[in-house]
């Protein structure tokens, strides 16, 4: 087990975690796992073993119960990522709206392929499945924000804006 003394939630986040645990019936605190993992990723950017062990200790569950869940759900990053993680929809309806062409442009713009991070650490590009925005595609998501009706020009503007 990795010891990492730097892995501690901010007081605000820790209070939020305790509030979330209280939502479930007594003894069912494991239900808090997904919400707490989201909070952990918000603060620590990715799921290092230290982060997962910390979450396990807060919920009083075994570390393996966290590993198996974090690795099952695709929203959790199991490796270090850039500052902005672009999660780009690759599924059929977005493809019909030109999603593949816009994705090619995005790769060129960033100078990386899917799964990679730019050398300045600013962007990681991931492909994801359907984001439930099919009528507003092509689309991608960065953290909580949806970017929709994408085209090459819009992509350029978004990347330039986030690069400032």
């Amino acid at each position: 087990m990795t010891e990492n003394n730097n892995i501690v939630f901010t007081p605000e986040r820790l209070a939020k975690v305790h509030e979330i645990i209280e939502r479930y019936p007594e003894g069912k605190q494991k239900s808090a796992l997904l919400p707490v993992l989201h909070i952990a990723q918000e603060q620590f950017a990715w799921m290092s073993q230290g982060v997962m062990d910390y979450v396990a200790s807060l919920l009083h569950i075994q570390p393996v119960e966290v590993y198996e869940v974090a690795s099952f759900y695709t929203m959790f990053h199991l490796e270090p990522v850039g500052k902005h993680v672009i999660e780009y929809c690759r599924t059929g309806p977005c493809v019909l709206m030109g999603g593949e062409e816009v994705f090619d442009h995005l790769q060129q713009k960033l100078g990386i392929k899917k799964g990679e991070t730019t050398s300045d650490g600013l962007f990681t590009l991931k492909e994801v499945e359907c984001l439930a925005a099919c009528g507003w595609g092509p689309c991608f998501q960065i953290r909580e924000k949806y970017y929709m009706h994408l085209n090459n020009q819009k992509v350029d503007e978004i990347i330039e804006d986030l690069s400032k």
Binding site: V128, A132, W136
Partner: protein, 445 residues
Amino acid sequence: MSKKILTEHCSTPGIETFEVYRQKGGYAAVEKAVKKMTPEEVVEEVKKSGVRGRGGAGFPMGMKWSFLAKPEGVPRYLVCNADESEPGTFKDHYLMKTIPHLLIEGMIISSYALGANKSFIYVRGELMYVIHILEKAIEEAKAAGFLGKNILGSGYDLELVVQPGGGAYICGEETALLESLEGKRGNPRNKPPFPAVKGLYQSPTVVNNVESIATVSWIINNGGDAYAAVGVGKSTGTKLISASGHINKPGVYEIELGLSCDEFLNSDEYCGGVRTGHRLKAVVAGGSSVPIVPGALFLKNANGEDRLMSYESLSDGGFATGTMLGSGGFIAFDETACIVRNTWNFSRFYEHESCGQCSPCREGTGWMQKVLNRIEHGKGSMSDIDLLVDVSKKIEGNTICPLGDAAAWPVASAIRHFRDEFEWHIQHPLEATKAGAVYTGSVLV
């Protein structure tokens, strides 16, 4: 304009706030239910309405409610399935972000009817911004006395919890959703026992889709009979259709069930027709997992009669010539769309989303994806087509949950209706793999 049960107030400015929602008559159904009706009477109205599960399966909601076991001293749960992830479907996303109180109000009445004191809304994790919208709505409803202890002095207590998922299509399957809500991997459970007997935390549980629960306020305000009077036959009420693909007006539309498919596609009130300058090649009528059909078979059934947007009419002809209403994820394909590429795309989706628990699905989805990938990239052989059909048949019906069927049907139906396009890809690989190349032999409408 046709009947609007869910979206009537969606364009009202400020409708996402409690104040405006209340001004438009919101929460009157909660007052009526908890003050003047018994839980059994609420269930009865929902039964009378005939409303069917709007997540895709189309099972009558009132009947599902009546299966809920009620052992003494054991808590019961209502869980709203807001894990909307079926490609082509974005109606729940639209409804929750636009008019969150409609779902909250429906949750309160439904929870009251089922005797649940703690209910959950499980929202796909990608929609974190929608989760914040719902949490704000819950706070507002609580401040106004519609949630929490002793709602409107009725003695009924309810707490609502919004739970984020983590990015897994499988959690839209109700038992996988319950596993996920318990903090585990989303592996579907063997049934029986059904959730109505042993669901969340092994307690009796009802899982309903967002749109289904959102109908409940209207049903309570107007009566189950009034709801049943809308629609056609056993397809009562209205349905939200998410429209995407090659149409002039993609978006979410509320239709009265029984609307003609031709009107839905071509009327300016809905899709506004196939993309201007193009013609219709194929349609996925109810989300990526339902059979894809040629445009002509979407508009008319095999007997040449007009097809209607209803559970029965869309499935008329079985899988030979029909399809399904499913989740209402309508995707239109014009002549520029490649059926082979789309089928490969969908099969990649199912391979990615298979939980890996059952071998026919875990191995079969990957196998189909690989075979489709090689056909799409000019490396297929003619025997691959029958191989795909064979693999799809060996997945279908042989898995714990319906993801296996959902993966098999798009492949089987694409080959059933567009076999010549697959053959063209295999026999003319150089031509088929040129950028922008599309098979031109399909019948268009």
